[in-house]
Amino acid sequence: MLPLFARMEKIMSDQTIETSADHVPASDVSASTEHGPEKVRRQTAVYVYEAPLRLWHWVTVLCIIVLSVTGYFIGAPLPTQPGEAIDNYLMGYIRFAHFAAGYIVGIAFLGRIYWAIVGNHHSRELFLVPIFRASWWAGVIHELRWYFFLEKTPKKYIGHNPLGQAAMFFMFVLGMIFMIITGFALYGEGAGAGSWADTVFGWVIPLFGQSQDVHTWHHLGMWLIIVFVMTHVYVAVREDIMSRQSLISTMVGGWRMFKDDKPD
């Protein structure tokens, strides 16, 4: 059997990912080898997602839920409130929550871009899709085959799997940029001519034709984000169970645990 460190080396070189000082490998392998061969489950782990990235992920999750729910009710408001207008402020609160979450998600997104610059190798995967690398495309094909039940064994990935990476970039990153730009353009309309949002994003309105078109596209954009989230969460849960590595706990604690020590 290969010594632990050589094995780690192998996993990493298979992934063509440079190892750096913060990728401290850990293992419970020595503890489990003492027991019977059927029970042996060697685990290796790599630190992939740093704290700011994980914090960003879960803040964004919260905001997107708030934005989608409130956004939906902005488009199709709840039934009329009884009583006098002065005693009610339902649309006001819903819109406030939407705009507050919009600000948070927007600023967090900028923070995420900053982290892609200063963070570790994996922090850049979200924004830099290696579409010119043949091995990446091979990975996409492999993943597609895996989801169509044509592959028996999944591959191991330290960072995102190639298909996930593509979805994250083309649906989520581009979708979010679109939602943030159109969202703040609409926000600038309410904030009024001369407000910062109008000054920075006001050009968006005539670009689409008029305000109504921006509303329509912003609304459609929500469904794109929802479709991404649905598949993303399903795949995260499924892969957590079916793949050879940890997923959800990785986004919580940062460590990627591998369930076996076989090469790819």
Partner: protein
């Protein structure tokens, strides 16, 4: 004294007293959102400045802009402004006709080269070399280009001249286009609306006549003082919107109580106009006050944005016209069903290939 009369002289000649004249100046200041300190400034400008000639052209249109204009709230405003401008050329309102009228147009262009304001109501159709709108035996397009060449500034009256309006709606058989598509080298002031509010029209023209410059415009070329806000921003039903109190159906309790018309398709949140502040017919009312939502008549392409009773645009590319939510729920539902099916297949696969077997196999390999 200059050979061209001043505004004041024109007015006096029209039989307007000095007292009425001053009243007009303060009204104008108010309409333009200027403080009382501007009244003497306006009066002074009108007394000393030679009157700016205005040419008013008509292309493909329904003349609702002219109809609106001559109903301006204060009779004085329209008398003054109208008499000042109809002196020159407006083929609907002026006294002369035929060759005589065309001669006046030509004369004004020659005499006031680079000085006059060109007001355009309606727009030019481009198809068949412009044959769908003939003025004085020639395509309107030619007349427009000719008159625009030596104009100081151009006012685009109404949604036709500003955006294209109904004659440019799909499928636009005459290829009618807003005037900024054919005139690119002059400042164009867009005064959209179908029609624009009378006080807005007289306000814009009075501003330009008195101050001799173009009012401050927004990104799309509309005067900020009248088009700086949406109907929704100043709507008197807005508190019901914020409270979440809506007219759900045209004849329900909410409709009687004057609740917000958002759910029955009010386009106030996406329409820039002054209806909710200046209102119509001498400030009597405006559509929302009458219980009907805004249809967004001052917005670009408002005929092509689906029903007047939908807030969002329909998306015709999807075969049957569908709105964003219908498409969204269909796609999300499809994806949801696919996920459920995929999860089921995954679970079955997992059960049939038992853990022991895989682990045993893995052991063999290592």
């Amino acid at each position: 004294m200059s050979q061209i009369e001043t505004f004041y002289e024109v007015m006096r000649r029209q039989g307007i007293t000095r007292r009425s004249f001053l009243k007009y100046c303060s009204l104008t200041a108010a309409a333009l959102g200027l403080g009382p300190t501007f009244v003497p400034q306006i009066a002074n400008a009108m007394e000393t400045k030679p009157r700016t000639p205005v040419l008013w052209l008509h292309g493909l249109e329904c003349t609702c802009c002219s109809e609106s204009f001559i109903r301006s709230a204060h009779p004085l405003v329209k008398d003054v402004v109208l008499s000042m401008i109809s002196l020159d050329y407006d083929d609907t309102l002026m006294a002369s006709a035929g060759h005589q009228a065309e001669a006046i147009l030509e004369e004004t262009i020659q005499k006031y080269k680079g000085e006059y304001i060109l007001a355009v109501e309606g727009n030019p159709p481009l198809n068949e070399d412009g044959m769908f709108c003939i003025i004085g035996g020639k395509p309107f397009l030619d007349q427009l280009k000719h008159a625009a060449k030596d104009a100081k500034a151009i006012i685009a009256w109404g949604s036709c001249a500003s955006w294209g309006c109904v004659q440019a709606a799909r499928p636009n058989p005459t290829q009618a286009v807003p005037i900024h598509k054919v005139i690119k080298d002059k400042p164009i002031i867009k005064v959209p609306g179908c029609p624009p509010i009378a006080e807005v029209m007289t306000g814009v023209i009075t501003y330009m006549l008195t101050f001799g410059k173009v009012p401050e415009l927004d990104r799309q070329g509309r005067p900020k003082m009248f088009y700086g806000q949406r109907i929704h921003d100043k709507c008197y039903r807005r508190p019901h919107f914020d409270a979440g109190q809506f007219v759900e159906q045209w004849d329900d309790e909410g409709a009687r109580k004057g609740y917000c018309l958002y759910k029955v398709g009010c386009k106030g949140p996406t329409s820039y106009n002054a209806c909710s502040t200046i209102r119509w017919n001498e400030g009597v009312s405006f559509p929302i006050q009458a219980g009907h939502g805004c249809i967004g008549c001052s917005e670009d392409g408002f005929w092509d944005k689906g029903s007047f009773y939908d807030r969002l645009t329909n998306i015709p590319q999807f075969g049957i016209e569908k709105n964003a939510d219908e498409i969204g729920t269909a796609v999300a539902g499809g994806v949801g069903a696919a996920i459920a099916a995929h999860a089921a297949v995954s679970a079955i696969k997992r059960m049939t290939t038992s853990d022991d077997k895989t682990e045993a196999k893995q052991e063999e390999h290592s």
